[in-house]
């Protein structure tokens, strides 16, 4: 969470500066969004490095030479925390406003603002968690493909939201993306169809 906040801070700085430079137009917003995405990924990478170091430290200190927390767990936790803080930041002000008086979309915007916000946030939280797992796994095995796909996926998701409020265009693809990423994360974490079956049959 901390790292996400740091990256958000850096991104906002960038955006602020670019806004000041380019006048009161709306143009810098997508640029700022793209920059924010890249910086988030950078933050995720920094998180990975730090956790790896801590993991090594823990491993040397533990009795049997292995770390008490597996890297997978760390990946999951870090992805989850990224997702949670990003989701919180996206939704909490909207929630606060939704508790107050008012009509949604009275000025001509979509009346489905709240619902779609909720869904998008949920998708984003899940996506961050999945990306965390995939990212850590890819870094661990040094596979650039995984890294590139995570960054690309993040950019894609962000870009899709730029298409709001044409909700069909953004919600649908984002959910499909979430599903695919989830399956991929599951696969990279070592799961498989068989393990799902085993789990379901409670062996």
């Amino acid at each position: 969470a901390f790292f996400w906040l740091l990256s958000l801070l850096a991104a906002s700085l960038l955006w602020f500066v670019s806004r000041a430079l380019s006048g009161p137009g709306d143009a810098p917003l997508p640029l700022g969004a793209a920059a924010a995405v890249l910086l988030q990924e950078l933050g995720r990478f920094a998180c990975f490095k730090l956790l790896k170091k801590a993991d090594e430290g823990l491993a040397t200190l533990s009795e049997d030479g292995r770390s008490p927390i597996s890297l997978r767990q760390m990946a999951y936790v870090s992805g989850l925390s990224f997702g949670v803080i990003s989701g919180l930041f996206s939704i909490v002000n909207i929630l606060a406003d939704s508790a107050g008086p008012g009509t949604v979309g009275i000025h001509g915007d979509s009346p489905y603002y709240f619902i779609t916000s909720a869904f998008l946030t949920m998708a984003l939280v899940l996506l961050h968690t999945f990306w965390g797992v995939i990212f850590f796994d890819a870094c661990e095995r040094r596979r650039a493909g995984g890294l590139g796909l995570v960054v690309g996926g993040h950019l894609l998701a962000s870009g899709l939201t730029l298409l709001n409020p044409r909700y069909e265009a953004s919600l649908g693809p984002i959910f499909i993306l979430t599903l695919c990423t989830g399956l991929w994360a599951f696969g990279s974490a070592g799961g498989s169809f068989r393990s799902v079956l085993e789990c379901l049959s409670c062996k």
Binding site: F2, L9, S62, N93, I94, L120, T121, A157, T161
Partner: protein, 467 residues
């Protein structure tokens, strides 16, 4: 200024040494706090001990007989547990403060200022306002310093009765008067009809149980809950009565002061801790939040009051050989206890660790303390730390344009700062000031989020972009 005292494992063949009362720190704080609050009508009486109630932990820095490596390993393992043990109360306190600020408008209305901050901030020019806030902060800090020094002096010359009286009056004021006002405001906000008799009964029960829990014996959870509530009440008072710029300046200066007071050899808090250690006393219980229960049990026989009093400051007891569970209020309390104490003083009234109890403790054979179970050792954090963390988060939620975003950011920043401080405690194993790192992070994030991130997120949310 809460110091997370790293208790060195004071094992001596399994026997824990006594911990010095860390109340030292708290005491000094109390004094300062008291002073500050004295002037305001509602100010609590000096909790002379409020802060330093941290029982002086007898940090007898004995040589650890254990294997060093084993220590380290245990340290790290239990360090993580201690972090969690500290997270919960700090989070609870902040949640209570934020919830109150958001719902009860009383605490965000400007109803005047404390007498400690005589200069108003409603001036015409920015320069004038800046000057006024600097003067306010200077006055407040000097009051705190004077009170701390007074507390240390009182402690050094064994004026225990004075300190105890101070702490008791502070806690009385805090538990009864401030909670009465708080309850009244909550009722007003939710439009609940209530008669005076019920209120009197409730407040009486709340206050008496609180006094007993904090200064005497009581279940650990209840004592922790009371300490959290007192810290929250104190923080709310601060949020209400400190004008904007003054509040931020005070936070910044206090963390610097905390750093200085705890780490410098001549710092008052450090002297408090050391004196407490020399005398093998516990610091005042009312000023320290402690997360363990064991020392309560142990101390019950010897110094119930001391135990109770210290608001268990959470010390980072890094060393497994924790000091006796008895009031581990290390002088380190001074670290946090100061602020805590001050706050306590103001709020609770002087909470004094009874010198008598302390003397009694000292009279008891030192090996009456049972060996502490390493896992049970807890961490102590001064109440002042709680208070200032909550002040920061509360101010952020009250006055930020980014609203919840800013509040969240400050909350995460403070917790991360606390983590780092605990980590340092594990590494250095001595009392550390708990304020500087967290407050610095919190301030940085507050200003950054409010000014930079907020417009960005606003625009994103407006267009429903997600990053």
């Amino acid at each position: 200024m809460t110091e997370l005292s790293a208790h060195l494992p004071q094992f001596q063949h399994g026997q824990l040494t006594e911990n010095f009362p860390d109340t030292h720190l708290s005491n000094t704080n109390d004094n300062s706090e008291r002073r500050r609050h004295d002037n305001s009508e509602r100010r609590r009486n000096d909790n002379a001990e409020s802060e330093t109630n941290g029982q002086p932990q007898n940090n007898i820095q004995r040589v650890v007989e254990q294997d060093e490596e084993e220590d380290e390993e245990l340290t790290l393992k239990y360090g993580a547990k201690h972090v969690i043990m500290l997270f919960v109360p700090v989070t609870l306190c902040m949640v209570v403060v934020v919830a109150t600020i958001k719902s009860v408008s009383f605490y965000t209305r400007k109803d005047g200022q404390l007498i400690y901050t005589p200069f108003t901030e409603e001036t015409e020019t920015v320069g004038q306002r800046a000057l006024n806030s600097i003067l306010n902060a200077a006055i407040m800090i000097s009051v705190i310093i004077v009170m701390t020094i007074l507390l240390v002096v009182l402690y050094k010359y064994r004026c225990y009765k004075v300190i105890h009286g101070w702490l008791i009056i502070s806690s009385l004021l805090l538990l009864f008067f401030f909670s009465f006002i708080y309850l009244g405001e909550v009722f007003k906000t939710y439009n609940v009809a209530m008669d005076y008799i019920t209120v009197a009964l409730m407040i009486w029960n709340f206050g008496v149980v609180g006094m007993i829990c904090i200064h005497w014996k009581g279940p650990l959870r209840l004592q922790q809950a009371y300490l959290i509530m007192i810290s929250a009440l104190m923080a709310l008072v601060f949020i209400k009565y400190l004008p904007e710029w003054t509040a931020w300046l005070i936070l910044a200066v206090i963390s610097v002061y905390d750093l200085v007071a705890v780490l410098c050899p001549k710092g008052p808090l450090r002297m408090l801790v050391e004196t407490a250690q020399e005398r093998n006393e516990t610091l005042f219980p009312a000023l320290i939040y402690s997360s363990t229960m064991i020392w309560l049990v142990n101390m019950a026989e010897e110094d119930p009051e001391a135990q109770r009093k210290s608001k268990s400051s959470t010390y980072n007891k890094q060393a497994p050989a924790s000091q006796t569970q008895n009031e581990d209020a290390e002088a380190d309390d001074g670290g946090f206890s100061q602020e805590w104490q001050q706050q306590r003083d103001n709020r609770i009234g002087p909470i004094e660790s009874t010198p008598e109890s302390r003397a009694a403790v000292q009279a008891l054979p030192s090996n009456s303390q049972t060996s502490e179970d390493p896992e049970e050792r807890g961490v102590k954090l001064g109440l002042g730390d709680f208070i200032f963390y909550s002040v920061l988060v509360g101010k952020a939620s009250a006055t930020a344009s980014g609203d919840w975003n800013t509040t969240l950011a400050c909350f995460v920043a403070i917790l991360i700062g606390l983590c780092l401080t605990l980590l340092l405690l594990a590494i250095f194993k001595k009392a550390l000031p708990a304020l500087p790192i967290s407050i610095t992070f919190g301030l940085v994030f507050y200003f950054a989020t409010d000014n930079l991130v907020q417009p960005f997120m606003d625009q994103l949310a407006f267009h429903q972009f997600y990053i």
